[in-house]
């Protein structure tokens, strides 16, 4: 018993030890496994996990940069920033989104529609990303929110800055800013790293053109956050960089004045310095309130703009296309002189109409002008005279001159919405319409009808280049120190008072390119324009300014929308009797003052009737204003030692 029991115990104990040994071996294997895992995590892949840990730990909130300011020539801010009161909501900090919205609805005036779209937005984004509930609260709403803030977990009152436009006279030039759209993010590369809630981007005008520089650099706040997204402490703040400021060549006073004169007419005015191409005024009307877009445009307001026949959203000065009408006659005459087709005193007899190529061509004056030469032809805007000149000149030579003087191509590079218009020629027609040129079309082109299409700024440039003696200028709307040759020009003017500029000096000193073959021809055209505005019988004689300081020389134009029927012509239907949309566009171009030209202007009034009655009176007022401010304009950037 003893021995067997003892033996049994010993055998058992040996069995246990043997099996324990096996267990110990397997334990060792397991320990090696755990060790291996520790080595892999804490040594081999440690840097990867450190990055992941930091990613957990830090969270960045981007800060929208302050947009650069746009100023006028006199450093008046025309697009600036103001403080706005906003409320943001961070979804993950709220206890219940539903409840918050119910509370907010009682405190603020938020529509169900807005709440619905906000909820949709929340569902799309990360829970810690703030969403803007309202981006422009008034003070009383904002203080009410602050009063109830303790009940509104996750709601944050924010004082931010937003774009503000002082007045709407420059709305088209400046354009407007609005919330970033999905399309913007896709198309504009510079926005890639900038998606900050509440950031506005330029949508049209200079705001769009300058967006990349004016928008600034996004800043950020880096916080250490816990697993619930709660900010524990601020680690780093980068305030970002405010956008660049820009200065334009515009004169806000003139902008306002012009806008006021235009009222709600569908019209545009462009004023340009004829020597350096500075655009002093560029107004399109009717205008709109660009501030309405900053915080998301109201649907009704938007529909009003869209459905308005006068197209308030279009910058007519650069993207409105009009047949130049009789204003082109200056170039037709110039082209004919340059090509020696006709001498200034050669005459043509106007009987009110001529028949050519089996078609009747009417003069605007039914009774006819009688014997016409170049000066009287321009002065009285005789169509028959120009039919004859155009016939001899041919469309291709006209087209060459027109292009040289700035028609048919974009004038500024600052507007995406600018259009280039059309200068017809035989090859143009072949290419774009696929037909041969008819000779009759040359005659239409000779009075600026037919295929001719031009923008008001092109007409202004054309006038400026005639007025400055026929030199090429590069119009600009952004103030530019380097390219401004105004200083030398002024110096020359001061040293040689009252003396007209000799051509060769302009060419060499101001690096100008002459557009003429013989400058005498330019003088003839300028003189004819003078007669048109300042001699009895001239088409814009009634709008003349007799004060020598303001006297201008101009050319009227009316561009036909629709061809007069014979019946209408017989009945001598007046423009006022036509339906608004069938009336002619009224055009007027001019330069002033005649004695020492400084500025060129173009005025286009859509469906205004005749240039002499609708456009010239506007030009008269604007010219006076511009010239009154001329010395002020010069003084601000021509002080000795002042860099220009």
């Amino acid at each position: 018993m003893f021995s067997s029991g003892s033996g049994n115990t010993v055998i058992k104990s040996k069995l246990i030890s043997r099996r324990m040994f096996l267990l110990t071996v397997s334990k060792a294997v397991v320990v090696v496994g755990v060790l291996g895992r520790l080595i892999s995590l804490q040594i081999n892949e440690s840097s990867k996990y450190k990055t992941l840990s930091d990613k957990n730990r830090f969270r960045e909130w981007k800060l929208a940069p302050e947009r650069g300011i746009i100023k006028d020539y006199f450093n008046t801010e025309i697009a600036s920033n103001k403080q706005v009161y906003q409320i943001h909501l961070i979804p993950e900090n709220t206890q219940s989104i539903e409840e918050i919205f119910v509370r907010l609805k009682t405190i603020l005036n938020i529509s169900d529609k807005k709440i619905f779209s906000l909820k949709k937005k929340i569902a799309k984004q990360k829970p810690w990303e703030p969403i803007i509930i309202s981006d422009n609260l008034n003070w009383s709403e904002f203080s009410r929110i602050n009063l109830f803030l303790h009940e509104l977990q996750g709601v944050e009152p924010i004082v931010s800055v937003a774009r503000v436009y002082k007045d709407s006279s420059s709305a088209h030039v400046l354009g407007y800013v609005s919330q970033v759209s999905a399309k913007d993010l896709k198309n504009k590369k510079y926005l890639k790293e900038m998606s900050v809630p509440g950031m506005a981007v330029g949508k049209t005008g200079l705001e769009r053109r300058l967006d990349e520089q004016i928008i600034g650099e996004v800043g950020f706040q880096r916080y250490e956050v816990n697993a619930f997204g709660k900010r524990i402490k601020q680690i780093k703040v980068d305030p970002g960089k405010a956008g660049e400021h820009f200065k334009t060549t515009l004169d806000l006073e003139i902008q306002k004045y012009t806008a006021q004169i235009l009222g709600d007419k569908a019209a545009s005015v462009c004023v340009m310095d004829i020597y350096n191409g500075d655009i002093v005024s560029l107004v399109s009307s009717p205008s709109y309130d660009p501030n309405a877009f900053v915080h998301g445009v109201d649907r009704d307001y938007w529909n009003n703009l869209i459905n308005n026949d006068k197209k308030p959203l279009t910058n007519k000065a650069v993207s409105g296309l009009y047949p130049p009408g009789s204003t082109i006659k200056t170039l037709v005459a110039l082209s004919a002189l340059e090509n020696k087709i006709i001498r200034p005193l050669d005459t043509v007899k106007c009987k009110g109409k001529i028949e050519l190529f089996g078609e009747k061509f009417h003069c605007w004056k039914k009774k006819g002008h009688g014997i016409m030469n170049m000066r009287t032809g321009i002065k009285r805007s005789c169509d028959v005279y120009f039919y004859e000149v155009a016939r001899r000149l041919g469309v291709d030579r006209l087209s060459e001159t027109a292009k040289k003087f700035g028609l048919g191509k974009k004038v500024l590079r600052d507007f995406f919405e600018e259009r280039s218009g059309v200068v017809p020629s035989t090859s143009w027609k072949k290419k774009y319409i696929g037909q041969n040129w008819y000779l009759g079309e040359t005659l239409h082109s000779g009075i600026g009808q037919g295929y001719f299409q031009s923008t008001p700024i092109q007409l202004c440039l054309m006038t400026a280049q005639i007025a400055n003696g026929g030199f090429e200028i590069k119009p600009r709307i952004l103030f530019d120190k380097r390219k401004n040759s105004l200083k030398e020009y002024l110096k020359f003017k001061n040293e040689n008072p009252g003396q007209p500029l000799p051509a060769d000096l302009l060419v060499s000193n101001f690096d100008l390119k002459p557009l003429f073959k013989n400058q005498e021809n330019i003088k003839i055209i300028k003189d004819a324009m003078y007669s048109s505005s300042n001699e009895p019988g001239g088409t814009s004689y009634r709008s003349r300014l007799e004060d020598k300081r303001f006297t201008f020389a101009g050319k009227t134009g009316s561009s036909q929308i629709r061809k007069f029927t014979e019946a209408q012509r017989e009945a001598e239907v007046k423009q006022e009797q036509l339906k608004y949309e069938n009336r002619d566009h009224a055009l007027f171009i001019a330069f002033a003052p005649v004695s020492d030209p400084k500025y060129a202007i173009s005025v286009v009034v859509e469906h205004g009737g005749t240039g002499s009655s609708a456009a010239a009176p506007i030009a008269k007022k604007v010219i006076k204003k511009v010239l009154e401010r001329h010395s002020l304009r010069q003084s601000i950037h021509s002080l000795p030692g002042d860099s220009i």
């Binding site: 069995l15 246990i16 030890s17 440690s46 840990s53 730990r57 816990n226």
Partner: protein, 374 residues
């Protein structure tokens, strides 16, 4: 008749004090102190509720361990069935009177603590089977009729715990029991059979699983699939440990735990927190302490005369090893997340109590190593 050498039964208190394994005691103390620092860190560098009660518990149960060490090994042998049944009754009590927390009914409310009988059952089952296999002759171990009782006493608590539901603890209880059976010489084929039966029953078992348990298993297979959902714990734990690097982020500087990215950092993920703050060096330190504790218990088993003592010590050492490895495997992303505390380190009274009880019995095996049990 065989006369038991009764020298040991009349050991003086001084002898007993000398025969205590002080390396083991020291390792436990060091681990205890380390755990207090870890707990202090989970409280955000302050002595708050968790730290305070962890310190109290550690010292109370450490004292209990020390006192239990002097209890005769024979007492443990004689009362082991009783202890098992007492724990089983407590487990049944849980089913009817238990407290429910986060969807699981595990605790009994006693005046001084909320007791989790399933933790105690880890020791109870080992004790029961150690005695059982100590008593039956070696030839009978693999006879079918002697297999019924072990299977029965293993299945009962495991089922009760699974139904709580507490998958982790039930697996740990079962693994302790299986280790005893293995050491006692149950043939490999029986283990193979039971694995086959287990696999056959798996689909049925899965249908009983709660959705969150199914999710956990799926998550373990591919944690990145749902990083903010069920896989969150594994990913965050791996990030914490991995970002600790060689020497860690420094005491009280574990950003993952400080910023609450670590779930259950007091309990199951205490190793993660420690490892984040003390890095690979700290991990190795903890691992070595556990290895030391396990090897000391195994050593007690080696020198204990009685097979009851051997079976108990070897089984307890192996079970202890399994607890540690399962917990580490879990936080290292090697095993699915099943709730299993890290012995001594993790916050939790019942787990501490059970471990100290187990260690106490092992120490009693050391003191009475030459005393026969029957």
């Amino acid at each position: 008749m065989f006369q038991p050498r009764s020298i040991q039964s009349s050991l003086s208190f001084r002898d007993k004090l000398f025969s205590i394994d002080y390396v083991l005691v020291l390792s436990i103390l060091i681990l205890g102190v380390v755990s207090m620092f870890a707990m202090y860190s989970t409280d955000g560098g302050q002595i708050k509720y968790h730290t305070e009660s962890h310190i109290i518990r550690f010292f109370v149960f450490f004292l209990m361990f020390f006192i239990l060490s002097f209890v005769q090994i024979r007492f443990w042998h004689d009362t082991s069935y009783l202890i098992y049944f007492a724990f089983l009754i407590l487990l049944i009590g849980v089913k009817y009177f238990g407290l429910t927390s986060s969807g699981s009914q595990r605790w009994l409310n006693f005046y001084f603590m909320n007791l989790q009988p399933s933790e105690l059952m880890k020791i109870g089952l080992i004790l029961f089977l150690a005695k059982y296999y100590h008593r039956i002759p070696i030839e009978s171990v693999n006879r079918l009729k002697f297999l019924f009782l072990p299977i029965f006493v293993l299945i009962c608590p495991v089922l009760l715990v699974v139904m709580q539901p507490d998958l982790g603890t039930s697996i740990l209880i079962a693994s302790g029991g299986l280790v005893v059976a293995w050491l006692a010489g149950v043939r490999v084929k029986f283990f193979a059979y039971s694995i086959l039966v287990f696999i056959a029953l798996l689909p049925i078992a899965i249908s009983f699983l709660k959705p969150y348990q199914k999710a956990r298993i799926l998550t373990f297979l591919n944690p990145e699939k749902d990083p903010l959902g069920a896989g969150y714990q594994i990913i965050q734990s791996k990030i914490a440990i991995g970002s600790g690097g060689l020497f860690g982020k420094g005491f009280l500087n574990g950003s993952q735990s400080y910023l609450d990215y670590l779930p259950e950092k007091h309990t199951d993920f205490i190793f993660t927190l420690f490892s984040e703050e003390f890095g690979f060096a700290g991990s190795i330190f903890i691992l070595s302490l556990y290895a030391l504790i396990v090897s000391r218990i195994v050593k007690i088993g080696n020198i204990t005369r009685s097979n009851f003592g051997k079976l108990y010590c070897y089984s307890f050492a192996t079970a202890f090893f399994i607890y540690v490895v399962v917990n580490m495997g879990m936080v290292l992303g090697l095993l699915p997340i099943v709730g299993s505390p890290l012995p001594i380190m993790s916050y939790g009274g019942s787990s501490m109590m059970a471990i100290m009880l187990g260690l106490g019995i092992a120490m009693s095996c050391k003191i009475y190593k030459d005393t026969p049990v029957n």
